[in-house]
C-alpha cells in the first residue's frame, strides 16, 4: 500500500469511526435529551420538579376559569392525556389541535400546573386559502 493510499484509508476510517461513535452515543442518550415529557410517559415523570410537558392541545378542551386568567386544557399525544392548568398570557399560536410545550410541574393526582406556555409549530407551512380547504377550522384569513 502506498503512503497516500494508507492515509486515505486512515482518513476514511476516522470519519466512519467518528460518525459511528456519535450515532451510538446519541441513540444511547435517547430520551435523556428530550426537551419535554409526552403525556404517555407522565407516569414516570417526577412530581413537583420543574419539567416540561409537550403534545397537542386536545380539541374542545380549552376552558377559562371564572377568574378570567386561569385556563385549563388537555395535552394529548394520542396515547394518553394530561389535564393542564395555567394562569397567564398564552402565546399567539396557542390553539386547540396544535402543538404546545408547557413549562411547570406535575402535581399529585395526575395533573400538570404550568408557569409558562410555548407554542410548538409543526413543519407544515401553507397560505390561509390552502389551510382553509384542508381543515375548515380557524385561520388568519378574514
Amino acid at each position: 500500500m502506498s503512503p497516500k493510499r494508507q492515509r486515505m484509508a486512515l482518513a476514511l476510517l476516522a470519519v466512519v469511526a467518528i460518525v459511528g461513535a456519535v450515532l451510538l452515543a446519541m441513540s444511547a442518550l435517547g430520551d435523556e435529551a428530550a426537551f419535554f415529557y409526552a403525556p404517555a410517559d407522565a407516569a414516570s415523570a417526577p412530581l413537583d420538579k420543574p419539567v416540561r410537558l409537550g403534545g397537542m392541545v386536545a380539541p374542545g378542551s380549552v376552558a377559562r376559569d371564572a377568574d378570567g386568567v386561569t385556563i385549563r386544557f388537555t395535552v394529548t399525544d394520542g396515547k394518553a392525556s394530561v389535564p393542564v392548568r395555567f394562569a397567564g398570557i398564552v402565546p399567539d399560536l396557542f390553539r386547540e389541535n396544535s402543538g404546545v410545550v408547557a413549562e411547570g410541574r406535575f402535581v399529585a393526582g395526575g395533573g400538570f400546573v404550568a408557569d409558562n406556555l410555548l407554542a410548538k409549530h409543526d413543519e407544515r407551512y401553507m397560505p390561509p386559502q390552502v389551510a382553509g380547504k384542508m381543515h375548515k377550522s380557524e385561520s388568519i384569513a378574514k
Binding site: A14, V15, I18, V22, V101, N116, K120, E123, M126, P127
Partner: protein
Amino acid sequence: MPSLHALANPRRFLSIARPLTPLLVWGGLALFAFGCWAGLTQTPADYLQGDSVRILYVHVPAAWLGMGGWSSLAIASIVFLVWRHPLAAVAARAIALPGALFTALCLATGSIWGRPTWGTWWQWDGRLTSMLLLFFVYLAYLALARADADRDGDGRIPALFGIAGTALLPVIRYSVLWWRTLHQGPSITLTKSTIDPAILWPLFFTAGGASLLFGGIVLMRMRADLARIKAEARMRRRAAV
C-alpha cells in the same frame, strides 16, 4: 484525476478564481436580493404564523450553508491530509469564517422567528443547542488555524479538527427526529416538502444566491491567503540575501 491536479496548481487556480469571484459575488447577491424581494412581496403569509414565516427565506439558506460549510471544510481537510496539497488547507481556512457567519445568521434569525412563534427567544432543545455548538466549533477552528499558522505549523492539527467536527452534522440533522424538541421536524427533505409551493419558491432563489455568495467569499479569502503566503515567501527570500 488529472483535472483535480490541474486545479490544485495555485497559478491555474488563480487564473480561474480571478474571473469567477465577481461572477459568484454579484450573481449571488442579485439572486439573493430577488429571492428576498419575492419572499417579502410575492408570496402569501402562512395560515398560522402570518408574516413571520417569511424569515425562512434567510433562515433556511443560512442553516444549510452553516452545515454545508463544515462539510466542505471537512472534505478540504481530508484532501489536505491525504494528498498533502497546500491549496486544500487554504480552502479549509477560507471556508471557516463565512461558515461561522452563516451559522450565526441562522441562530439569530431563528431566535427572531422563535419569539413570535414559540413565545421564546431561546430554549435549550436538541436542535438549537447542537446548532449553537456548531457555531462554537467554527470559532474554535478559526482560533486553532490562526494559532497553527502563527507557529509555522504544518496545518495537520486544524485539518484533524475539521474532520472531527463532522460529528456534529448528523446530530444537528437528526436532532429533531431522535429527540422530542421544540424545533419542528424537517420541512424539506430530498424527496418532498411540507411547505406549500406558493410559499416555497423564493427559497430556491435565496438559497442559490447565498450559496454563490458563499463560494465567492471563499474564493476571495483563498486569493487573499495565497497573496499573503507569496508576499511572506518573498520577504523571507529578501531577508536571506
